[in-house]
Amino acid sequence: MNYVASDLKVVGTRPVRPDGVDKVTGRAVFAADTRAAGMLWGKIKRSPHAHARILSIDTSKAAALPGVKAVVTAADFPDIPSEEAFVGEGPMNFRDLALNVMARSKALYEGHAIAAVAATTQEIADRALELIDVQYEVLPFVIDVEAAMAPDAPILHDDLFTAGVNPKAEKPSNIAKVVTFKKGDVEAGFKDAEVVVEGRYTTQPVHQAYIEPHACLASYQPDGQVSIHASSQGHFMVRAYTAKLLGMDMANIRVNPAEIGGGFGGKTLIYLEPVAVALSKKAGRPVKIQMTREEVFRGSGPTSGATVEVKIGAKKDGTIVAAQQVLKYQAGAFPGSPIGPGCMCGFAMYDLPNVDVVGYDVVSNRPKVAAYRAPGAPITSFAVESAIDDLARKLGMDPLTLREKNAAKNGTKTHYGPVHQNIGFTAVLDAVKAHPHWKTPVKDGQGRGLAVGFWFNIGGESTATVHVNEDGSVTVATGSPDIGGSRASMGMMVAEVLGIDVARVKATVADTASIGFTHLTGGSRVTFATGMAATQAAEKVVDDLKKRAAATWEIPVEAVEWKDGKAYPAGSNAGAFEPLDLAALALKAARTGGPIVAEVSVNAQGAGAGFGAHICDVSVDKETGHVTIERYTAVQDVGRAIHPSYVEGQIQGGAAQGIGWALNEEYIYNAKGQMENPGFLDYRVPVASDVPMIEAVLVEVPNPRHPFGVRGVGEVPIVPPMAAIGNAIKSATGVRMPDLPMSPPKVRAALDAAG
């Protein structure tokens, strides 16, 4: 059933989250906080070379060091065949994943894992790593995406042939895949155009930069059963991937979801768990591995850097008649950049008759990319939204009016196929127009930028169990790691359905052996899909409670109504019996059919796409090129905000990450292909004094495919910031910054070049 907004008592309020006290008192247990009796410390030896053949690995000296209990290399892992699967928000090849977890014949990037040790202390483990003797044949390497596409570029994989080309590729290439999308006739469209803008944009790889480094604790028992405590976006994902990489039965692996200290997509892969299990098996003792910050930067996934060319043609009245893009995305050392979403998202906000998009997925000697919040979309949107801003200037048109004129609406057919349904983009643009920020004149010396963004959002498989405890309190268990307050929203939806105080409902995250399969926390899916499962489970509990009340009163179940946490006799029986509340029914459970529990598994569809628009005011120090974000407003269609504070938090956090991406974050490589800034000192994420308050404006266009109208919110907010800031800089200085990050040296150089 769908709930009507005016009836809601819990949804839309802002209660304290159930895991809150644990997290403000230091009690919450993250993976690195776990311990086990006899625990060893695992550490990983990593390649200092960007590209090298591994000639030999001699671990004998390390193994002989007192205190070292196990050493493993790729030889200790099954050599698994290539196998494609679609997981999370993108494709995954398990052979690539295995080779990323432990290099076999070649090190493909600086930081690539080569071997691992387990020892009684961290210091001994560190010394053991130094004693592992690896002989390399250093190979030519390539870092930059376009250099990797050149015909004479060093080839990473001899068996990688470009997919998606005709005729079939005959020579190995660093171009893993070419993707094309066409709608209408783009050439005819450009002939028809009266105004054309074009540009070439580049973005740098940026790291998700969660504050918690990857960590896990694994214990292999003599009977082949394994227990893992891991910090991840999906403990079922950890189980599946670990099983696959080690050739184990999933039933033999139990993954306990530790609290996760941020992921943003970066913890939808595994790096450590199979290594910890292999070490534990060899040592016969539990093994904990935690990455250093440097390892996080060198060895785990950033998102793609890219080159994007964009060309847009319009009539003088602002009607866009043709749009074209060529996108080249870095995948890192293995195929699998978010080039697909990159090709889809750039123009998804607009109703366009003629579109032509070509995308390249390109490998180079960098860490394998991992998902990062709306993977692929921020890059493509930076280019498109900058170009739209240029178009507005060229047409002499207000940038909001231009977007309104071309905005996608319900029924708009996208260039990649699907037709937009139940979207709230127009409502978002209306909210921008009505917002005081947009209506306030820009302050002297400042500039204002506007940009919009889109993300699909996903649904998928989720399981939730609702238990009515013996005293009438309620426990909700799901399989979704809580990365940003989802326990609160689960509890609220269940409390709403049951009609009880949310304080009586506690939500937990259950381990892989204690709840049905649940897809990972990603794609902005949890409140939608897992929330749907939890809502339906609560509804089943209500049905059950009604039956039990009916049986108690000996009246038909149809004559029982559930309201405000109580069963009431209804219709002709109205008033005939005292209502039975949840506690009373729970007390009688043994006599009315046993435990009151419902479990629901769903494969949720109809996630409901999300649209956002950001307004940003900046000032620019023209002598140093330093950009200050003076005011920031982020408007987004969130469907229905279950817990508005956490919805706002997603939007504010995504915007701040976008500000970092726009202004300062980048991977800096030296001439040897080594990362020069693998720490928070020189990989510059925004600090508290870098950003203003970020006003999140929640537009609620309910998603009819969810009982409460939820649509995903976590990813959209990172899509618009780069272009919003670039457009604001253009407005403040007259200079277009096509290359990210728009760091002070680049801004100053651009200002100097412009005179």
């Binding site: 210091e123 560190d126 440097e294 002598e623 140093t624 090129g625 330093h626 202004l663 300062n664 800096i668 020069e676 800034n677 928070f680 000192l681 020189d682 510059r684 925004p686 600090v687 004094s689 870098d690 760091s743 002070p744 040296p745 100053r748 150089a749």
Partner: protein, 296 residues
């Protein structure tokens, strides 16, 4: 078992003996905000750490017999910042030290550590150079007073002997119509290493004409440098447009930076000029009693 030893001597003599007698690499620990990072990263593998913080006088601020200030070498930034008299007399030094790292780092970082870590980008060092601070160095041969400019000799290198360390810094008495200031440029608003830093200390006459000046630049050379050419531009002038333009040019000419992850040669030179102008303006204002506020 670890091979790294630790000692926390309570006298200068004891500390000197420990340093002199160390068989391998011995490092002096004051605030530790650089040393511990280097230890953890494996860039430094000492055999002995000598924690000097228990030596009387090495933490704290007092007035010298000449009317100047004596700042204990290991006095944490937060304690320096809280000293009202020092803030009034040498705001440039206080604000420079205050710029090092976070609030947390301020709880530990010291002038001696910042100087002896010998980074060309050290924030407090251009301000100390500009002030003409003197380092009181103790060692096996006794006590010697060394102008701070003579301490760093290259990135990570100092002129101190194996058995020497800095006990305290002396700042000269503050004359009338004098002011100092320090600014650095960083990409963010906090938590970065200086791309360029500039410290200037001036004395003016009643008409606002500069009678003495010291200008120092950071992060544009292997060590922090004094820029006498820039000081000469100021002496004999008020801070008019022509003087500012010449100061900018002198700072740019003196800057011999490298291109690295924090900036390019071209950019650093330009910013050296920009900062010199901005810092001079604050220092002149302070000398004329026009401002008491922080420069950042």
């Amino acid at each position: 078992m670890s091979s790294l030893s630790y000692a926390a001597p309570t006298t200068v003599d004891e500390a000197v003996k420990l340093l002199a007698g160390a068989s391998g690499l011995a490092k002096v620990l004051s605030g530790g905000t650089d040393l511990l990072v280097q230890l953890r990263a494996g860039r430094l593998k000492p055999d002995l750490i000598v924690d000097t913080k228990k030596i009387p006088g090495i933490i704290g601020i007092r007035k010298g017999s000449d009317g100047g200030f004596v700042i204990g070498a290991a006095t944490p930034g937060a304690e320096v910042e809280a000293n009202a008299e020092l803030n009034a007399a040498w705001p440039g030094i206080v604000e420079a030290l205050d710029l090092i790292g976070s609030t947390q780092v301020q709880g530990r970082c010291s002038l001696a550590g910042n100087l002896c870590n010998a980074s060309p980008a050290a924030d407090s060092v251009p301000a100390l150079f500009a002030a003409g601070a003197i380092a009181v160095v103790v060692g096996g041969k006794g006590k010697r007073e060394v102008p701070v400019e003579q301490i760093p000799t290259g990135p990570g290198r100092t002129s101190l002997g194996k058995d020497e360390f800095i006990l305290e810094f002396k700042l000269p008495p503050r004359g009338a119509r004098s002011g100092d200031a320090y600014l650095r440029f960083i990409p963010r608003t906090e938590m970065d290493i200086a791309v360029v830093g500039c410290g200037i200390n001036v004395t003016l006459d009643e008409k606002g004409v500069c009678t003495a000046a010291r200008v120092a630049l950071g992060a544009v050379s292997p060590t922090v440098i004094m820029v006498p050419e820039a000081a000469q531009v100021l002496v004999g002038h008020t801070l008019d447009a022509d003087t500012l333009a010449k100061l900018d040019a002198a700072a740019q000419a003196a800057a011999k930076p490298i291109t690295d992850k924090r900036g390019t040669v071209e950019y650093r030179k330009k910013v050296a000029g920009v900062l010199a102008r901005r810092v001079a303006a604050i220092a002149f204002d302070r000398a004329q009693g026009k401002t008491n506020g922080k420069a950042h």
